[in-house]
Amino acid sequence: MEKQFSVVGKRLPMVDAAAKVNGSAQFTDDLTFPGMLHGKLLRSPHPHAKILNIDVSKALRLPGVKGVVTGAEIPDRQYGIVPKARDEYALAKGKVRYIGDEVAAVCAIDPEIAEEAVDLIEVDYEVLPAVFNVQDSIKEGAPVIHEGVANNTSFAIRKEFGDVEKAFAESALVSEDSFYSQPVNHAPMEPHAAVAQYDPVRGQVVLWSSTQIPFFLRRNLSATLMIPESKVRVIKPKVGGGFGQKIDMFAKDFCAAWFAMKLGRPVKFVYERDEVFIVTRQRHPMHLTVKTGMAKDGRILAQQFLSYADGGAYNSTAPTMMALSCFFLMVPYHVPNLLYEGYHVYTNKPVGGAMRGHGIPQARFAVERQLDLMADRLNLDPADVRTKNSIKAGEPHPGGFVINTCGFAESVQLAAEAIGWKEKRGKLPFGRGVGMGGASFPSGVTNMSHISSGAVVQVGQDGGVNVLTGAADIGQGAETVIAQIVAEVLGVSLDDVRVTAADTGTTPLDPGTFGSGVTVRAGNAARIAAESVRKKLFECVADELEANPDDLVARDGVIFVTGSPEINITFPKALKAYQYKDLPMPLVGRASWMADTNEPTTLFTQPGNFSPNYSFMTQAAEVEVDTQTGKVKVLKMVTAHDCGRPINPMLVEGQLEGSIAGGMGQALYEDVITEKGQVMNPSFLDYGFPTTMEVPEMESIDIETDDPVGPFGAKEAGEGTQLSPAPAIVNAIYDAIGVNFNELPVTPEKILKALEEKKKQGV
């Protein structure tokens, strides 16, 4: 019998949508407290320099200034999101490594005075030679950016299985191609902000921060301030988009807490837009060479990768990013023999970090582009090549992944049909073309035991349900999805459920929003917590309904016997019955959940499963190239998508649509341009991500699979869809004008130049 759901699978508005449309939703910068002070940061004007001396005396003398702090005064504790890659200080100690590196912080009675005081700080620098690209940075004798890091290479990964050399020898075609993905800024609409308050009696600091990961932020704050985690409370107000950029701790977090503790007054830091562009994080620029061996029929026999990521001045998520970039070359295609070598290299530039897709979009761009190149060389249809190489659910995976459900092959077919592949590919007039790209993404990770989520579900006397979750909603709708899951389990309406989330002082541990793990991980914790409440209620009313508790169902406000809906009791009456039996109130269920795992992580050297489950998708684009101006218009983008069973199809669509705009930006427009380490376009106008005028017609096709691990069969939906729009668009440009672009973004300038070349060659 097919399962029926009342709340799950419904297109329901976000639980906080009304607050967001009427202006009452509070973001960090919207918070004010009596006596609040304002902070500003002094940043390095040099890409690489020694700090010889800092004179803060003039700044301190400015009326209204309450405090100044430099790197020399803060504890010698480096931080970073990945424990083994910690290399950052909130304020530079002795040396700055990129233009924008934090040198000192000022706290004053208003932001203007703080800014004025920042200008009064005098710093003597000894300017050091700097490096601005990977090639120079890994050379013998290059300037050393971090002491003790040879060749400025802070992380290397090598992963191998099968025998690539043997497979290449057996291949009908072996192609080696090089690709480059540019730095992209997340550009969330809300600039990064933090407000801190200190309670000197309890010795507790409370930090409201625009963060994606309150619990990791608590850990980093505790470590750098050298106070116990129990004395740090991090609260996430509404967050105005993150896309990975709000995963790290920043100087504003540390300095707000530092000043609040020193001065005993609330302190706020808000970054300006240019600071968001220059000193937060960006998608890693990556050079990737791919060598692929293919059989005559298009089957991939082996792939070898060599990648260099330009990490900028610090590590941030470097090891995780490189690992993702490597491991997600093993899906959605079956690669029986693989060799990956990747290097994360420091340069004196803005810092790379997690960004939607996290290392995978760069790799996906290379592979999806090369598949088209090779299909062409073998005279095969690129769509057929994709279907032919699709991994399949239940089959042994060369890397040891456990693929329970996989709608990839179907996604290729459905996307092809929807874009009109057969009629259009190679058949449209010059200047128009279609292209596609495939992808797969993890729903969080299995390979770290501390990646687990907790949840508490409480039912009050009036039937109201309160869910405590540590999950961090940054606009994607995490709280809504969790509320829907709980409502479905308890058989109540979404209106009956209230979510309290992402407050390390009140909600259970949760790693936060990254790696697309929230729905599966925090969703499962909430599901199990709600099920334990339901079990107590079922046991209580079973006698009255003359049924076995296992045969009861809760739905639409009623508890009834399976197959006999007339034998029932309403939810409020069941709750009354529970109280009349003198059972303790409130009715509480709690749970924590993590994916099955083998400890310690061995994935770098051995096969193993990466994620509890995997989403799959194909995106197909139709483009029109204006051969006069070089401008590309994306006419249509189709996404055929397997995210298991969508908990809320409207929110899933929202993720797809936003990803298409983001992917278009990466394909055609966006690039953080630096000259000698200076960001040249740190504003919305100069950077230029897509507006209403650029976005294409969008169609989404849902391929529903019922995943056994995800709550109600769900898989991730937030990040995977960002992987394939760029290759789909660039492949479509190839179909349109017959030019292969292997470097992003494909700007009008590049297109005109290529068309000119083509003309010269007379083709």
């Binding site: 973001f27 606009g475 209403t692």
Partner: protein
């Protein structure tokens, strides 16, 4: 030198002491506590600070507060009457025309200005007039759909 001015916001008159170089955005947020209007760039490039002045959409980060004296200012807080959502707001809620919600107040105010001027706009027209309001989450599809639906919901009337 600070000066006292009177601003009419959401039908109420506020007397505030301001510096002549303060923007309307700063005064709305920092002096009047109307934080629904957002600061996304402070350069007039993102539209998050859009408010209505005498019925037309303005970027409050590019306008000095002193220049708003004598105008009827409406912010996002003034759009819903008695706590009920305006039909435009209802459409955005029901059709998922928002995600993180940071750009939303500006987008809703721009939508109000669009529909006041052109109660039955074409999709193309909405796209053009909404092009100054950036959103990084939605890809704009559901934003445009929400405005079109609001137009229908309001019966093509202002």
């Amino acid at each position: 030198m600070k000066q006292a001015i009177a601003l009419t916001v959401n039908g109420d008159v506020y007397e505030v002491l301001i510096s002549p170089n303060q923007t309307l955005l700063e005064v709305l947020r920092d002096k009047l506590g109307l934080t629904g209007t957002k600061k996304g760039c402070d350069l007039g490039a993102c539209g998050a600070c859009s408010v209505l002045l005498d019925g037309e959409a303005y970027l409050s980060c590019l306008m000095l507060a002193v220049d708003a004296v004598g105008k009827e200012i409406v912010t996002i807080e003034g759009l819903s009457e008695g706590g009920d959502l305006h039909p435009i707001q209802k459409s955005f809620v029901e059709l998922g025309g928002l995600q993180c919600g940071f750009c939303t107040p500006g987008i809703v105010m721009t939508a109000k200005a669009i529909l006041d001027e052109e109660p039955q706009p074409t999709e193309e027209s909405v796209k053009k007039k909404m092009a100054g309001n950036l959103c990084r989450c939605t890809g704009y599809k559901k934003v445009i759909e929400s405005v079109m639906s609001a137009s229908g919901r309001m019966g093509g009337k202002q």
